[in-house]
Symmetry: C2
């Protein structure tokens, strides 16, 4: 298998999905170049990423989008240091963790981005309906960790990186929208988050994110004020 071509990672360091792919590249020690760009719905962009979203990668002439798909692809093409380690059942537990965070925590939290990050207004209907969905998702994550302690102590995984950056984002949304600290009463979730945050490359990626976020918020504020 040819895997000697340097991977290009396209997207923005403010994106939790971009940062998850970056962590996967760092975890596996895969050579890569970061290409910082924003998402658009331009026809040319859609040819590379059909939903017009970032991140996407370019590897050996092919563009691949969707975070979980990119992570699985990297894990398969570069076999060292697996991102989904362990038995098929343990891999499934990682998969469940990633899926629950994506679909039941991050996805609803994104519906509150306009009011939280874009200086726009969140409809009260959205504000009311999102919180119970996120609560159920977080309870499911805590339960899964209770039942599968190996997810805490074991080798770091692609699911862990997704968890880290996704919950970091959802935490900001919940704090700002509801004044809600969702780590309370979820000690295992917090433990995993803190463990992951101590890895050298996670510290570096988070620092890049925080720097980029300042510029991003200033830009969104200017956009909102010009409307």
């Amino acid at each position: 298998m040819k895997n000697n071509e340097v991977i290009e990672l396209y997207g923005s360091p403010v994106s939790n999905c971009y940062n998850t792919v970056l962590a996967a590249l760092r975890h596996k020690g895969i050579e890569h170049h970061q290409k910082h760009i924003g998402a658009t719905q331009d026809a040319g962009f859609l040819l590379k990423s059909p939903m017009g979203k970032i991140p996407f990668i370019l590897h050996e002439g092919a563009y691949i989008s969707e975070t979980s798909v990119i992570v699985a692809y990297l894990d398969q093409v570069f076999s060292d240091k697996p991102l989904f380690p362990g038995s098929p059942l343990e891999q499934a537990r990682c998969g469940q963790l990633m899926k629950i965070v994506e679909l039941y925590v991050e996805s609803p939290a994104r519906r509150l981005f306009p009011g939280v990050f874009w200086y726009l207004h969140n409809d009260p209907l959205h504000v009311a309906e999102v919180r119970p969905v996120i609560e159920r998702g977080l309870n499911a994550v805590e339960l899964l960790l209770q039942q599968n302690r190996f997810l805490l102590g074991g080798p770091k995984s692609g699911a862990g990186y997704y968890f880290y950056f996704s919950l970091g984002l959802a935490e900001t949304v919940c704090q700002q929208q509801y004044g809600w600290d969702f780590w309370e009463e979820r000690p295992l979730m917090r433990e995993l988050y803190e463990q992951l945050g101590k890895l050298d490359f996670m510290i570096e990626i988070s620092a890049q994110r925080d720097g980029a976020m300042e510029g991003y918020l200033a830009e969104k504020s200017a956009e909102a004020n010009s409307d």
Copy 2:
């Protein structure tokens, strides 16, 4: 690897996710028992499926939930007749197809279930915001098929089964909510849908679904009228 214990599949044949797992089991010729149950938020149920959702499977003493995770697990434990065939890149294309349908077509369509299936009311805000999301998702699917014709003619895949049952459901939602036939102007999507619908086991699973759906709708109607 022990894989001689018969798999139990829990859930309802009205669920597109249940039917996707069932198709994966049939595709691979894995012995299984169907256990028809509904989803609940009971504590005992959550121990088996942390979000309280169906489907989930029981295999060798372990309960596993989340459709895409179950399908990946089955594919790994039972190696015959892969559900994600081909090169790593081809597998990634299947992954993108499945992901786009799940996150950008089915997930928004589900927000209209109350008005479409449960004899309740959909808020105009939801009705207005869901359609453009689904349109973008469907356009992305069509584009992905244009760029990757092998997804049409090649071996059947787990992504295809997901596509089939998920779009079957989204189609009903879009027809009933908007009077919108989304197959129009998306010929490749329609071609893949029709191809998959001709497989013997897909015909059987769809027939079981349609029978169960009648009972389900009658039950929802009675619930709505008793409120």
